[in-house]
């Protein structure tokens, strides 16, 4: 997930250990709530905390493999792409995450750019 954003665009959000393994935490931002996920293999992903189906808080779902199941109606979202898996359709906007020795940062600009592009 490490991308080309310049350093000043990264915002520290905390330590990887603040997130339960196979779990998620939220980050409040001016652009809305971001869900930050940690998988069993310690990969970290971030995306908007809104299921494309009915707006369910994805951060509250069960994390399995590199997917999360929305707590409201069980839509399964890929943490890697933000896309709904299986027969469902829909996509969540992902946010770039950087993991340096456990210190996590997100690239807020990546989200703002997406908002601007709409």
């Amino acid at each position: 997930m490490e991308t080309n954003w310049p350093d000043e665009n990264w915002v520290e959000i905390g330590d990887i250990h603040d997130i339960p393994v196979r779990g998620a935490r939220c980050v409040k931002t001016p652009q809305g709530r971001i869900a930050v996920f940690r998988t069993a293999e310690d990969h970290v992903y971030a995306m908007e905390d809104r299921c494309p189906h009915k707006g369910g808080p994805l951060s509250q779902g069960i994390v399995h493999g590199t997917s999360v199941t929305c707590p409201l109606h069980n839509m399964v979202i890929s943490l890697e792409t933000g896309r709904a898996l299986g027969a469902d359709e829909g996509e969540v906007r992902t946010v770039a995450v950087r993991n340096r020795d456990g210190m996590l940062s997100i690239a807020l600009d990546s989200l703002m750019l997406m908002v601007a592009a709409e």
């Binding site: 935490r25 939220c26 001016p30 069960i62 399995h64 493999g65 997917s67």
Partner: protein, 815 residues
């Protein structure tokens, strides 16, 4: 007056004979059975899976106690018959029980052959014949060390595999150059030996045991060539001999076994012999299929029929998980015989057909056994194969042009082709029964036809017949897998968790070969529940495998806020509690307050961050979580009973509160709602609850398996008990039985339908010991479950859950 039928022995053969007899002529005989074993009739073919831990004894019972009761059979358990008086026509047991007979069936089975080498009587030398032997072997596995199995026949190898699975080192000793030499030719034996060696079982062939070593107990064995193999247990599996002594003593003709004619009659016209103790046309059979065939003949004879048993061709399958092996008929080489062989070393496939006069006389299949039934059928029929000889070895799919799909192959079988070898069930019987009785599930077909009900190796064929008969309306998956992560169904997973002692989710996934690295949102909560239920003291609840509601102890709503329901014991509250709720509503600006159907109050629209503070305030007023979110005990709804009501017969409010205080906190497969009504007017609506009580003058009528949701269903009556204490014990035991057997998310009414109401009544109402066991396990589990989750979180548990990880890019003022 009814005739008296006495049976010595209670194995599978007489069990089957009685089934036939009761079906065709119920009530013809008064039946008395003497069983030397202290138990009911169970499936001996399945002892190996019990040994390997893949099944439990309960799974292999064929006739439970209720079957004997229903058919009016007197079963003397643990009663070994010591004498037959043919003049007085009586039999007598060692304990002095005697019974008179008009017809006597000797079905004493066989005895394991113990090689009389020095040391054969040391403690630690075991046979492999019945459940007692299996239990002794399982005991031995607890001590560990090396088990030495003498004899690499069917039983010996299954024992070796089971002991290996149970964690022992295993060496198999075999006197001949190749293993299973009565059923396999050397190339198949080689492949089998290799597969077993790969599983860590050491095999020594051409080895003759000289003596068993040890002074107090087994320490090993010595072979003829001087080799010494150290071990703690020796299993003798070199063969069986008919248990015919009792007949011999009574002066009945005995050769190797008790000699019978084609009507299964011995030299005494009132006495018959059946099963492994009998010798028919010079052959003593040791496999179940021929015994079942002869059982049918005997049942007919006892009714007055004239059917004749003409002997059987037998086939064999080895029950070692992951090894496919089939052999049938005679495959010795001979001048007048030809053979067709197919080998595929990479795939580990070996097939050999032995032909004589253009007919198949023997078949050995290793690695790929799907055509076993087809070849076996042709052996029995003596089908002329000259037309298809070129393609015969490739199997049924390759006959007549393009390959057939498996269903078409089954469709092509003749009506009288045998599908289930164990129970002798042919194709037309299965198809006919499906149509006549409107059967739709494999379990139904098993119950009505017995096909695939013994060893289960023909399950695939039976299912194909179901597809053929029912079309698309039948889902061929015998067991609905739990989810896409596994092929196993819920029941298998539950059984294996207990049998293999799996105590963590990763252990379950590793040992049961999950197809995904960490499961999915379907299987993880189910596994978490099963482990919590089965290992209450040892399992550490996996928080991340719980649905959000059970993680944050509140109910998520469509907008991501939560609702909170405090417990109101039995639906009773007071001014202080209501005032505290009102204060909380004001303080946190809770937008909606709603009275629930379970007699309590729901506070809706609470932000997740506020939950701990809401709970703290509620906790100060004495409230605990109502677990309105849990797959667990929810509410106990009550009416006012004898406290106030002029019709009340018992203290329904008090009992409801007592039940709720006893059972709160317990996790169950799906939500569990109770109610107690003080009289049959039933104001607490107990007759549509998961468990309900209707109080009456004479006591407490316990109901269960109601539904008033997706389905609407009145309850069933479990039974009537006299006192409140008894009612509590019965209800708790019922809940525990459901906890232990229910599939995750399966409500109690669905579970009850699956298990059978009679079975539940039998265990909870009729079997005090079982009931006590369930009750005690529930009480034990409650020691770990009754912790108020709200106060835990008020004290700081799972803090991270209720706070954002970070707040970024926002002005302070925005907070």
């Amino acid at each position: 007056m009814k005739q008296k039928l006495v049976i010595i022995g209670n194995g599978m053969a007489p069990g089957r004979m009685l089934e036939e007899l009761f079906e065709q002529a119920p009530g013809l005989y008064d039946v008395v059975i003497f069983n030397a074993e202290p138990r009911v009739n169970y499936d001996r073919i399945m002892l190996s899976p019990v040994l390997s831990g893949e099944k439990l004894y309960e799974d292999i019972v064929i006739h439970g106690d209720d079957w004997y009761a229903r058919n009016g059979v007197t079963l003397h358990k643990g009663a070994k018959v010591t004498g037959i008086d043919r003049v007085a026509k009586t039999v007598t047991s060692a304990a002095g029980i005697s019974a008179a007979y008009d017809k006597l069936v000797i079905a004493t089975g066989s005895l394991p052959f113990i090689i009389p080498v020095p040391g054969h009587d040391l403690p630690g030398v075991l046979a492999y014949r019945d459940l007692d032997d299996v239990e002794k072997m399982l005991d031995a596995t607890k001590r560990g060390g090396r088990a030495i199995v003498i004899g690499a026949g069917l039983l010996g190898l299954e024992a070796a595999y089971g002991l290996k699975r149970q964690g022992m080192d295993v060496t198999v000793i075999h006197i001949n150059p190749t293993i299973m030499d009565r059923q396999l030719d050397p190339p198949a034996a080689y492949l089998l030996e290799k597969a077993l060696t790969d599983r860590g079982i050491e095999i020594i062939t051409k080895a003759n045991t000289k003596c068993v070593l040890g002074t107090e107990k087994v320490e090993g064995i010595e072979l003829d060539d001087g080799r010494i193999i150290e071990g703690t247990t020796v299993i003798m599996a070199v063969g069986i001999r008919p248990a015919a002594q009792i007949a011999k003593d009574a002066g009945i003709a005995v050769n190797r076994g008790i000699v019978v004619d084609d009507g299964m009659m011995t030299s005494d016209a009132s006495i018959f012999a059946l099963g492994e103790c009998a010798e028919h046309r010079g052959i003593c059979y040791g496999l179940v299929a021929p015994l079942y065939e002869s059982a049918k003949t005997l049942a007919d004879r006892l009714i007055g029929g004239a059917s004749e048993y003409k002997g059987s061709v037998v086939n064999t399958k080895l029950k070692v998980t992951g090894i496919n092996l089939f052999s049938a008929g005679d495959f010795a080489e001979g001048e007048d015989r030809e053979e067709i062989v197919l080998r595929d070393a990479t795939a580990g496939v070996y097939k050999r057909l032995v032909l004589k006069d253009n007919r198949i006389v023997g078949a050995v299949l290793y690695g790929e056994t799907a055509d076993g039934a087809w070849f076996f059928d042709m052996i029995k029929r003596g089908t002329d194969i000259s037309e298809m000889r070129d393609t015969l070895i490739f199997g049924q799919a390759y006959q007549g042009g393009s390959p057939l799909d498996p269903t078409a192959a089954v469709a092509a079988l003749p009506d009288d082709a045998e599908i289930c070898g164990c129970n002798g069930v042919c194709k037309s019987k299965i198809v006919g029964t499906i149509n006549a009785k409107g059967l739709t599930s494999l379990d139904d077909v098993r119950a009505h036809t017995k096909a695939s009900a013994s060893c289960g190796s023909c399950t695939g064929l039976v299912e194909q017949l179901m597809v053929l008969t029912l079309g698309d309306s039948y889902n061929p998956a015998a067991v609905q897998p739990m989810c896409k992560c596994t092929e196993l169904g819920h029941d298998d997973v539950r059984r294996l968790i207990v049998a293999k002692g799996l105590k963590t989710i990763p252990a379950v996934m590793q040992e049961l070969e999950w197809k995904t690295s960490c499961g999915c949102a379907k299987c993880r909560p189910a596994l978490n529940y099963y482990l919590v239920c089965d290992w209450p003291d040892e399992y550490a609840d996996d928080y991340q495998s719980r649905f959000i509601n059970e993680r944050v102890h509140a109910n998520i709503q469509k907008d991501g806020t939560y609702s909170v329901v405090p417990r109101m014991w039995g639906g009773v509250t007071n001014a202080g509690e209501l005032r505290a709720i009102a204060d909380v509503v004001d303080k946190f600006e809770i937008p909606m307050v709603k009275v629930t159907g379970g007699q309590r109050i729901d506070l809706l629209g609470i932000h997740k961050e506020d939950l701990p503070a809401v709970w703290a305030d509620l906790g100060k007023a004495g409230f605990v979580s109502g677990q309105a979110y849990a797959k667990g005990l929810r509410t106990v709804k009550t009416c006012v009973g004898t406290d106030w009501c002029r019709f009340g017969t018992q203290d329904s409010t008090g009992f409801g509160i007592r039940l709720e205080k006893f059972m709160w906190g317990s996790w169950t497969p799906a939500k569990l709602k109770l109610a107690v009504s003080g009289c049959p007017r039933n104001c607490a609506e107990a007759t549509c609850k998961d468990i309900g009580v209707i109080c009456v003058d004479s006591g407490y009528e316990i109901h269960f398996a109601g539904a008033a949701g997706l389905d609407i269903k009145g309850t069933e009556v479990l039974g009537l008990v006299a006192t409140e204490d008894e009612a509590l014990e019965h209800i708790v035991a019922l809940a525990q039985m459901y906890r232990e057997q229910g599939r995750y998310l399966e409500r109690i009414y669905k579970w009850a339908k699956r298990v059978g109401l009679d079975e539940i009544r039998r265990q909870i109402m009729g079997d005090a010991e079982k009931r006590k066991g369930y009750f005690d396990r529930f009480v034990f589990s409650q020691k770990f479950a009754q912790v108020d989750p709200w106060s835990e979180r008020v004290s700081g548990k799972d803090k991270h859950e209720f706070k954002p990880m970070a707040v970024v890019g926002m002005a302070e003022a925005a907070e």
